[in-house]
């Protein structure tokens, strides 16, 4: 299945399907996310049976601030699709897809750790890379690079990069 064909086939299912840089992106609502993924997985022609990646991006000026991208792959057809879900800051919840793709476990935990988007129904929704008692979600755009009191025992204050240079 070529990217162009994929856009055509997915057009009826998703309102917003686009092709850029040779990659197909479809946007779905979080209510329909699991159903859509299941349909894509079971579709006999498309067979998106492999989850490559789950990652998130922060767009602080938009109503839907956090966008989580699911990168799907078909082992048989060797085609790819990016499925995106946007959520607002006040309601940063997305249903987990670990029921369909158990491999999403660590990846969803990383998105939660770094962006603060919670995945409802995830079997183990905890931080994964940062310490359990860490405050904040560092990949948010309003979090500085540095400029935090390092939260390990006896930690020092590291000023943000820009201020570091001025001293």
């Amino acid at each position: 299945v070529t990217p162009e064909e994929l856009v055509e086939r997915l057009g009826s299912r998703f309102g917003d399907v686009s092709l850029a840089y040779g990659e197909v992106t479809a946007i779905t609502s979080r209510e329909k996310l699991v159903d859509n993924l299941e349909a894509l997985k079971e579709d006999p022609d498309l067979r998106f049976d492999f989850l490559s990646d789950v990652s998130g991006t922060d767009w602080p000026d938009d109503d839907l601030r956090f966008w989580v991208a699911y990168h799907l792959y078909s082992l048989e057809g060797k085609h790819r699709l990016r499925l995106k879900v946007g959520v607002s800051e006040s309601d940063a919840h997305i249903p987990t897809i670990t029921g369909l793709f158990p491999g999403a476990d660590f990846l969803e935990r990383e998105v939660y750790d770094m962006l603060g988007v919670e995945f409802d129904g995830h079997p183990d929704m905890r931080r994964i890379l940062l310490p359990e008692d860490w405050e904040g979600h560092p990949h948010r755009k309003d979090e500085e690079l540095g400029g935090v009191k390092t939260q390990y025992k006896g930690g020092a204050f590291i000023p943000p990069v820009d201020q570091r240079l001025q001293k």
């Binding site: 990652s55 990016r82 158990p102 079997p123």
Partner: protein, 413 residues
């Protein structure tokens, strides 16, 4: 996913902490093991000890500078990290590296694959008691690192693959050095196999240990030798070729046993296939530049390898400081500001020694990456650890961890 796997417990269980500093966990991996006698009832991998915020740091650097960050993620395969990032940015920019750079990228990354698999066989040998293999593995890896040092000026974290090509062309004399290595290496691989393949301890510790069924391996999104040892022939080089991989003649190695021994066999055979690819790349190396001509993209300096690593050539420094004001302004602009990348997003995959390495690169049209996400194969593969370990003996934890070959720099980023 979690509770149904717990085996029947016969007595009171014991919780044992292993790591994060442990000689047999391949870096700072911490495992919390629940044991029933010597049988593992449950395991929780705890990661993050090597988290350095590479992805966040990229957002505060120019597109070119970010290469020096991503290369440090999976430190056993730095060239793959650079390659995936640069291919992604090149696609956003709508440019393609010249043919010579493409072939050299293939050659360098395949040498890097051999070096990485050598570390696997060396450290696994050490962990399972075959210390001589450890010494031999690191000895041969050293030859590759010497080649890398000759070409890039550095043994690791090269930042050699650049947006639009490579930092510089091959130096004199490196061709013979690589051919020498191609000559020696097949014999060495035979030697390792003589030492390991019929070694009763090695076989006993690996054969039938850490079984992963193909369906489960796919469900858990494992890639690389772990997936291929379970019989699924997924290899990005073959399935979604980059850098002209469709021109090269090589086999995608698979085994069907899905255990630690099969992963060992896959990696040994992959090293032979990589040698084939390096030879083909070297034989058919096209001439021409190693960097795109567009002055708005290419790094302005002319780099050479000096005694202290890569630096600007003396003629170039003379030109911008004494010769041409325009050249100096251009140099200053390119170094401080760099290149603006059109808005958009790409997910670029390459086949790293540990599997599918994906870089999700997002641009908002600015001079810095808006978001760089590394889908590191070690991180994702580590999820299959629990499946393999539960119900096994505690000594198998070491063999299974070694055969997964996680690199914590990539896991934690």
């Amino acid at each position: 996913v979690t509770t149904e796997m717990r085996p029947e417990v016969t007595q009171e269980t014991m919780i044992i902490n292993m790591g994060p500093q442990h000689p047999a966990t391949h870096g700072v991996l911490r495992l919390v093991l629940e044991l029933d006698g010597e049988t593992v009832v449950d395991v929780k991998p705890i990661i993050g000890y090597l988290h350095t915020g590479i992805e966040k740091n990229c957002e505060y650097r120019s597109w070119m500078q970010a290469i020096a960050y991503v290369t440090r993620a999976d430190y056993l395969s730095p060239l793959f990290n650079e390659l995936a990032y640069c291919l992604g940015v090149e696609r956003l920019l709508g440019i393609e590296a010249p043919p010579r750079a493409q072939s050299l990228r293939v050659m360098l990354t395949e040498l890097n694959r051999i070096a990485s698999h050598l570390v696997y066989v060396a450290t696994t040998g050490m962990e399972l008691g075959a210390v001589s293999v450890m010494l031999y593995g690191f000895r041969e890896r050293e030859r590759i690192l010497e080649i890398f040092e000759m070409i890039t000026g550095l043994r690791m974290n090269h930042a050699f693959i650049r947006i639009g090509g490579l930092a510089m062309d091959l130096p004199d004399g490196v061709d013979e050095k690589i051919r020498e290595f191609l000559e020696v290496m097949p014999k060495r691989l035979d030697e390792y196999e003589k030492l390991l393949s019929r070694n009763p301890i090695w076989v006993e510790r690996n054969l039938g240990v850490g079984y992963l069924a193909p369906e489960r391996a796919v469900e858990l999104s494992t890639t690389g030798p772990v997936l291929r040892a379970s019989g699924i022939a997924k290899d990005v080089r073959r399935d979604e070729p980059y850098c002209g991989f469709e021109q090269y003649d090589f086999d995608v190695v698979t085994r069907t046993d899905g255990d630690c021994y099969a992963r060992y066999e896959v990696r040994m055979e992959e090293m032979r296939q990589s040698l084939r690819i390096v030879e083909q790349a070297l034989d058919s190396l096209p001439g021409g530049p190693v960097m795109v001509e567009d002055p708005k993209v290419r790094w302005p300096a002319q780099l050479t390898v000096g005694p202290d690593g890569i630096g600007n050539s003396e003629e170039y420094v003379e030109k911008i400081l004494g010769g041409s004001m325009e050249a100096l302004i251009h140099h200053f602009k390119m170094v401080t500001e760099g290149v603006a990348v059109p808005a958009g997003e790409v997910y670029q995959v390459v086949e790293s020694p540990r599997g599918e390495l994906g870089l999700y690169v997002v641009s908002d049209g600015g001079y810095r990456p808006y978001r760089v996400h590394v889908r590191d194969p070690s991180f994702v593969n580590l999820q299959s650890f629990r499946d393999q370990v539960v119900g096994q003996m505690i000594s198998d934890v070491i063999a299974i961890g070694a055969a997964l070959d996680p690199v914590m720099g990539g896991v934690d980023r």
